[in-house]
């Protein structure tokens, strides 16, 4: 099967992207230097093509309630024009996906899903009785991230970006083209995600690059989200990890009406979790990597889900599932790196927080 390409594929090639397969898509890994792209987002502005992400639309009378039944968070608690991070859970309380729901009105909710899960999510929703439309091909999606994102974007849109608060969005124009601008992101920095028509994506991409944004690939996206301790589906969360285990209890609203996975979560909450996701740093040299074993007293007790040499902090950082008894800040264990037990210590998350 051939790989899918976003509307920006040619623009990536022109920009010198190193292209790799990701979730069935041919996407930029970097444009020469992951580390420089990472720094651009922390200090200025970076631009990501995330058009591979999917958009599934709930529309019509009862749209909000239909969506709310399939997510763990509560759309009734936010206003129109607000976005909500949530889990879509299975009956065991594990993650089918983690998503952002955009509440346009009680009759229109757009759910942005991970590229790898797009088909699975759609089928899951349909199987659970929802009337949904996969609108993924109607949209391109750019993420403009970094402390200079607002200043860089403002000249190109009539929307008052200074009034647009975190996790709010507005239907407006960018560069004279229809767009939805949301103050959301996956980097731990201020920034925006911009939905536009596929045919407008390239002009918008070039406009933002000419304005000073640096093109950034999936490599920097991953190191940025890890410093910000944001979960990645397939690493930290999956069908057999629950929000409570992943430290995402805040996306579960047990006091709302029934939703898929609620009963399992109520039970787990009452019982307590046996393992928890923690952030750690190494106390000796090395880089933790996904899949490395966590040891305690010489025995394997957990697993690293993500790890890297933090480009911003210049220290090795990682996320791991460990027994609850080892999850408190300051707890120590070892990470097995090439048959060597390297001491590690649990630290407060996120690793990096913007000032």
């Amino acid at each position: 099967m051939s790989l899918r390409r976003t509307p920006l594929f040619e623009a990536h090639r022109r920009a010198g992207a190193k292209l790799v397969e990701f979730a069935g898509w041919e996407m930029p890994l970097h444009y020469g230097s992951l580390l420089e792209e990472h720094e651009a987002v922390r200090t200025a502005a970076g631009l990501f093509d995330v058009s591979h992400m999917g958009q599934i639309v709930f529309e019509g009378p009862g749209a909000l309630e239909a969506c709310n039944r399939l997510i763990s968070n509560d759309l009734a608690r936010i206003a129109d024009g607000q976005a909500l991070y949530s889990g879509i859970l299975n009956e065991r309380g594990g993650f089918v996906d983690d998503v952002i729901c955009y509440r346009f009105s009680p009759e229109k909710v757009v759910v942005v899903v991970n590229a790898a899960n797009r088909q699975k999510d759609f089928e899951w929703m349909v199987a659970h009785g929802a009337k949904v439309r996969d609108a993924s091909d109607d949209w391109a999606l750019l993420a403009l991230q970094g402390p200079k994102a607002q200043g860089l974007l403002q000249p190109h849109t009539p929307a008052a970006l200074g009034d647009l608060r975190f996790f709010r969005f507005v239907e407006t124009e960018v560069g004279g083209k229809p767009a939805i601008v949301a103050r959301t992101g996956y980097t731990g920095e201020d920034g925006f995600e911009i939905f536009c028509r596929p045919e407008d994506a390239e002009a918008l991409w070039e406009l933002l690059l000419e304005s000073g944004a640096r093109p950034c690939g999936l490599g920097a996206r991953d190191s940025l989200r890890l410093e910000a301790a944001l979960c990645l589906y397939g690493n930290e969360i999956s069908d057999d990890r629950t929000p409570y285990e992943a430290g995402l209890g805040w996306v579960v609203k047990l006091d709302k009406a029934d939703f898929v996975g609620k009963a399992a979560l109520e039970e787990q909450k009452a019982r307590g979790v046996e393992r928890k996701l923690v952030g750690f740093t190494l106390e000796d040299r090395g880089i933790p990597r996904s899949g490395y074993r966590v040891l305690s007293g010489g025995e394997p007790v957990g697993v690293v889900t993500s790890g890297t040499m933090s480009p911003t902090l210049k220290i090795p950082i990682g996320l791991a599932y460990v027994p609850t008894a080892l999850s408190a800040e300051g707890s120590t264990f070892e990470v097995e790196i090439r048959n060597k037990a390297v001491p590690a210590r649990v630290v407060k998350l996120p690793f990096y927080k913007r000032s």
Partner: protein, 129 residues
Amino acid sequence: MAQNVPQDLKYSLDHEWLRPEGDEVVVGITAFAQDQLGEVVYVELPEVGTELRAGEPFGVVESTKAVSELFAPVSGEVVARNDELVDAPEKVNQDPYGAAWMIRVKPSNPSEIDALLDPAAYQQLIENQ
């Protein structure tokens, strides 16, 4: 992609280079290797005094995207290592044949050096990859 292959070095199939200096050899990784790896963020080298066996791992280089073992091009004792790479692993990308030398070895079987690739053969190897 054209890569720099200095004419005064010998090369291994695993993309290490070796420079004979008196009765010792200096070892590093090639420009081709660092390009394939991407940005190097971590280097782990053996202690001075370690006995290496040709073809066996002697250290590790990690880039932002991958972990790669280093393989000894010859057998012998490590007589020096480049500790500067611990704090400045990016030198592996910037100057793979110079500042990013990795270890100095006293070969126990100098005939192993002759079995390594000459620059022309190494050039051919990387052009076929």
